[in-house]
Point group: C2
Chain length 243, copies 2
DNA sequence: CAATGTGAACAGTTTCACAGCT
DNA sequence: AGCTGTGAAACTGTTCACATTG
């Protein structure tokens, strides 16, 4: 057994989630004719510190040139490589309600890299209809007609049906699940689940709105603690303060 | 000035995001006739460790009873109080396309606590139409007709229009923004922004799917490192392993 | 000289272990 | 005896500062 797992050290998850942002911004800059980006500019546009940009980018290899910055095209390609673009992922969506249909039709969600391999729903009213050129099937039907396993499953259905559907997706080969249902899934550890819980997002905002409200007659959370950036949320924030 | 800001110490953001999960689960248990929950059970159902549950809940006050657990009803009420439920938040949605409409119609997203105060879009085709009983307006129109400021703004529009819309929402009073557009917003620090970037979610999953694929002929990321739980994602994961 | 890459300090969360109630 | 509440330890990610390099 030689070295294997050469990828330097496993990239931290927050970094993984920021890479597509850098990629998007850099692509935009490229389109504007810019051929090189500095960590400073990238940070400003992404709402993070320049140091974070450098740490993040260094984890995918040394793509920058000291003194001048990162080559925009190389950067985009480098991020694409780490993110697994280039490959085409077979996606199945379970739940063809409002949200499912909206996702399918949202430009920029299912790009070239994602192939809608199956559209699954349990409602007899929907089975047999076609959305975006793909026929809606029941689970058994889908299982029978799929010749290759799927890679990614998306759950856009009510909470009570989520666990069953997740199990079925795993049965169809999914190793990754994007779950929009407000339910915690119990899956084997090799299956990666990401939760997008819209009602939780609103509730988190409510909580802070509540604090802000209280703050109106007292302390404002962001006054004068840090001279540079507000302590703020965990992720990207308003950039462009000074310079 | 007496004490003020009595809330023990400011609850960490990851905790804030988990509280609604505990609340949801406990509500469900209550409905099933259970009057008391242990951190262990709650953890199992929420896909987190019992210790984390206890730390999380301790940050909103001592609601548990040693020896028997948490009173389910009191727990739900306690979480509701910290999350700012009970109040009604005025929400404006900008962008009445697929996603905007889907959110409005998704049961469980805009609950009693959220009042859809304005529906804004720039398209003349949409202005004047009605969605879920609310008329779609242009921005100026909405600004003129609103008598009270809004609390929360939701952006469901293309990236290129996001910053302008965010500025307008802030102009309408928003201190919290939920941004679905794939764009980083630049907002004053007192405005709390949460990003839900669907294409990034898919890309993150792709990245891990890619690793898993490579792993098929080599190491499986979750083998034998931790005897208890897999290192897994940052948030809730498959629970119910033993016990 | 400008801007990257990175070790070291720092900060925020999670996990552990156990004292303290009931 | 059972289960919470919480300091202390461990860990993970961020920020800092600076040596390094084109």
């Amino acid at each position: 057994m030689i070295d294997r797992s050469a990828r330097r050290k496993q990239i931290p998850e927050p970094t993984i989630a920021r890479l597509p942002i850098y990629q998007r911004i850099t692509t935009e800059l490229l389109r504007g004719g810019q051929t090189t980006v500095s960590s400073d500019q990238l940070g400003r546009l992404a709402g993070v510190t320049a140091a974070k940009v450098r740490k993040d980018l260094s984890s995918i290899g040394s793509l920058g040139t000291r003194g001048s910055g990162y080559d925009a095209a190389a950067l985009v390609a480098g991020i694409a490589a780490t993110m697994g673009a280039g490959e085409t992922w077979r996606v199945a969506i379970v739940g063809v309600g409002n949200l499912g249909r909206a996702l399918i039709n949202t430009r920029g969600f299912l790009t070239r890299s994602y192939n809608l391999a199956a559209l699954i729903d349990s409602s007899p009213d929907l089975i047999g209809t076609t959305v975006a050129g793909v026929a809606v099937q029941g689970v058994e039907e889908a299982a029978a007609s799929l010749d290759e396993p799927i890679d990614i499953g998306i759950l856009t259905l009510p909470a009570h049906a989520a666990q069953t559907a997740a199990d079925q997706l795993i049965g169809l080969g999914a190793h990754s699940i994007l779950n929009f249902a407000p339910a915690v899934l119990s899956c084997p550890p090799e299956v990666r689940v990401r939760y997008v819980d819209l009602s939780i997002e609103l509730q988190v905002l409510s909580h802070y709105a509540r604090s802000a409200e209280a703050g109106r007659g007292g302390l404002l959370s962001s006054v004068g603690i840090q001279p540079t950036t507000a302590p703020g949320s965990a992720d990207a924030r308003g950039a462009a303060r000074r310079s």
